[in-house]
């Protein structure tokens, strides 16, 4: 398949006005107790603030003092590359999808057999878009595909052919197994020592406690995190109208039930689960987005970047 097929031109167009900014830029940019380790190398004036005891004399803007008779210090931020690690869930539950694949959409192993646009397809598209945009800004982007553990990894790089390597890995990956995000995160943390932005694309159909534990470990290591919860519309609406025998994609005992009878309870549980994922993310300063596989990636990405840019602006 061609890698470009994962990122439709209209998606790229929707993303173009935004600039990817990590909420946490690099360590040296942080003012206050976390000064940029790269200050003086590639700095960019950010803002003035009033002088406070402890501030270096060198940082005082004397021109301002001359005009206003007040002491202000200059603040600088380090314009540096962002390390972005995209983690994509490749467990069997991601093989679920109900949207018919249209011509030209391409696809993965998950959609080739069924002709359905699966959650993994959508996750792949999301990851590809994210990687593309990061690489456009010169960030280093890496990829990890996990189920019980990290199965495939593309090391971080800002090379121009990195994107193709990422897309190639995504498109050829089998979709199977049970997701164990805790173990997979631990494996990734062992490999990523510097601070990075982790983007985890998954359906997060896993125990919330396990997710919380994994997110906590990431946060404690100082990484930023975005959780992209990719769910099929059918999972979100559960509007099946015929009794069926539900067989789990990740195994387990099948359930015979009438969807109409359990719909209300299921939707409540799904809503509760999505909110739980959102709460977990927010409790650790991360973001969580819900992505409907029947909708395009662009608006979701735009929303993500908009939120991060505004968040970055507030943090300054």
């Amino acid at each position: 398949m061609r890698a470009e097929q994962y990122l439709a031109p209209e998606t790229l167009a929707q993303l173009a006005p935004f600039e990817l900014r990590a909420r946490m830029i690099v360590e040296g940019v942080m003012s206050g107790m976390h000064r940029s380790p790269y200050q003086g190398l590639a700095v960019e004036f950010a803002e003035h603030r009033q002088y406070a005891p402890g501030d270096g004399i060198r940082q005082i803007d004397w021109k301002v003092f001359a005009r206003t008779d007040k002491l202000y210090v200059k603040r600088y931020v380090q314009e540096t590359n962002l390390d972005v690690m995209v983690l994509v869930d490749r467990s069997a539950s991601m093989r679920f999808g109900t949207l018919e694949v249209k011509k030209g959409w391409g696809g993965t192993d998950a959609s080739r057999g069924t002709g359905k646009w699966t959650k993994f397809d959508h996750a792949t598209a999301t990851a590809a878009a994210m990687a593309y945009m990061c690489l456009q800004q010169g960030d280093r982007v890496g990829l990890g595909l996990f189920d019980e553990e990290v199965r495939t990894q593309v090391k971080r790089s800002s090379q121009r052919d990195q994107w193709r390597a990422i897309v190639g890995a995504l498109s050829g990956e089998p979709v199977a197994g049970r997701a164990q995000i805790g173990r997979s995160i631990d494996q990734m943390l062992a490999r990523v020592t510097n601070r990075a932005l982790f983007v985890v694309v998954s359906d997060f159909l896993m125990p919330v406690d396990e997710l919380r534990s994994a997110v906590a470990r990431l946060a404690h290591r100082g990484h930023d995190l975005v959780l992209v919860q990719t769910l099929d519309r059918q999972e979100l609406r559960f509007d099946l109208d015929a009794p069926g025998r539900f067989e789990g994609l990740e195994g387990g005992e099948a359930i015979e039930t009438d969807p109409r009878a359990v719909r209300e309870a299921y939707l409540a549980l799904m809503r509760e689960h999505v909110e739980s994922v959102d709460r977990v993310a927010r409790s650790f300063g991360a973001d969580a987005l819900v992505c409907d596989t029947h909708e395009s990636v662009g608006p979701v990405m735009a929303a993500l970047l908009d939120r991060r840019m505004s968040f970055s602006g507030r943090r300054g």
Binding site: F96, E247, G248, Y266, L269, M270
Partner: protein
Amino acid sequence: MGFLHPAIAWAGVASVALPIIIHLLFRRRRVPVEWAAMELLREAVRRTNRRLRFEQWLVLLLRCLALLAAGLAIAVPVLDGGALSGEVRRLVIVVVDNGPTSALRVGEETELERMVDEVRRAVLEAGAATGGGSAGGARDRVGVVLAAGAPQLALAPTSDAGAIEQALARVEPSEMASDLRGALAFAAATIDTEKAAGRGAGELPRIVVASAFRRASVAEGAAAVAAREGAQRIEVLSLVPAQDVPADVRVARVDARPAPAGDAVLVRALVVREGPSLEAGQTFVRAVAQGMSQPPARAVMWEKGQAEATVDFQLVPAGLAADARRIGVTVSIDEDRLAPGNTAYTAVDVRRELEIGVVGRRVSLDASDLERVPASLWASRALSPGAGSGMRVRDIDPSACDARALLGLDAVVLARPDLVSPDACDALGAFARAGGVVIVTPAGESTAQSWGQAVFARLGVTVRVSAEAVDRDPPIRLAEEQAPSSMTSSLLASIGPELSALSAPIETRRTVECSGFARGEIVLANADGSPFVLAQAPRGDDGRVARGLVVVFAAAPELAWTNLPVKPLMVPLFQELVRAGIQMAAGDNEVAVGDVMVGEPNAVLRGAGGATLTVSPDGRSTEVVARAGLWQSDAGAIVAANLRGDSLALAPTAVDAVRALLAPMGDVRIREVDAASVQRDARGAGDQNNP
């Protein structure tokens, strides 16, 4: 409780299995669905499972109950008091037993009026009693069937309460015998017809029987109403059978005949009575006839236990028209509780001079040549021995015998059957079938009698004679005691007491052998049982017995055959054969009410109250005789119509017998009434009228 459509009820019960089967089939046919969020789904199912299972079972149960209820509802559940639902419509056929006994007076009203009142309460005001609506307010359809005579629908099923009320109000006691079994079968057939025609689908069929179930309506040991195989059972609501035995006196029979001599008419009335105790008493009997004197009333002095009495009257002409041919005689008694039966009727021929034709060769003889005197001459002399005999004889030559020659005759003696042409035989046959009397004797001149086949076939009778006469040596005598037969009693009633003495000297030396007759058709029999004289009614082309009479002699009344011509029996025999024969041949002088009248073709007979009866060309009335009385045609024919004796029997029928009678039709319920008051009234009225 039962069901009008038990099969549907069973189907409803069986249909309960349908939702269960569907439920099981759907369980098996669940489509496998691959699903990712299994834990959420499992938890959702776990949370809803108990409620879901309860709901599923509840829905299944409701579906089963709905089908069961629908099936049972369509099957129309029925309680003793009617359908469970007040909305169930009924098809009610009221069978009103309006036979003659329904005219029995019970207090101030007749038994029929009382029954109709009960029917009103049972049908028009049935809502309270049966749990359903009334015919007026609801949509019940009511039809009325009358049991008297041929069962007929007096009112087609309708829900018009006014029409029902009018139909019931119009019902009057009929004089025709009640055919209750036939009426019930007719009512059931009416219900079946309505169902078959698709009218009133789902209606609850009911037959209301308004009858006192007296013996006149339910003969002793009568078979039950025929069961209706495979048909819907009917709810039968019956009034309580009467259990009283009212006293009643009636004129059971009237006979009238002209006196052997003179113009008088002799009338004999048979008066009978029934009741719980036949006490001593008296009953006055009267006889009247137009143009005749009215004798004083005769009193029957009843002795205790006496049930029958005979009263004789002699009516003499008093202003009787000279050309009168027939008069009606009415015998009546005082009015009692049951008016029908208090009067009886008969008709009698009062013609003073009859016209007789004798077909034979003219011969000139001297007084000493008796052996050569032909039968025609002997017959002429016997019929008209002298002036004032009342009979005028017209000689007819065999070659001239045709319809024109027979015009105006009352009887014909065919003494030379061997000489008449086939056309003459046809004319004689038509004459006989038109009500004439034809007396046929063998041809006396020869022993060969080859004429029999052709003549009798054209006369329309089945009797045949041998082609050769047989000589009897020693001569055969007439039986001293004539076996009772209908022909003897009808034709020779006037000389019955003297018949043995008159028959004794009769010897026959030559006879023809007769065949094709019944024992009852022998008028006079020889000692060996062979017929000497027999009589048959001619049959029409359709085989039915019509009017007319053919009398056949086995021996020619000539001295070479028999000594009859010179014995005292000769004159009364021929005269009675002609007189009584004419009475008989004129058709039934009497007819029972409810029967078809046989009479002069195309005649119109008028009865009391302007009622008319038309006789069709085949000699039978187009309708049955509905009323007792004297029916008279413009041509002077009179027919007396009387009630059947068994149509007036008042003996009661046991309730169990009534139930057994009605049971094959469906579920029988005897409507509760104040039977005690009915019987009290009946006893009270009976005491007042007991003779």
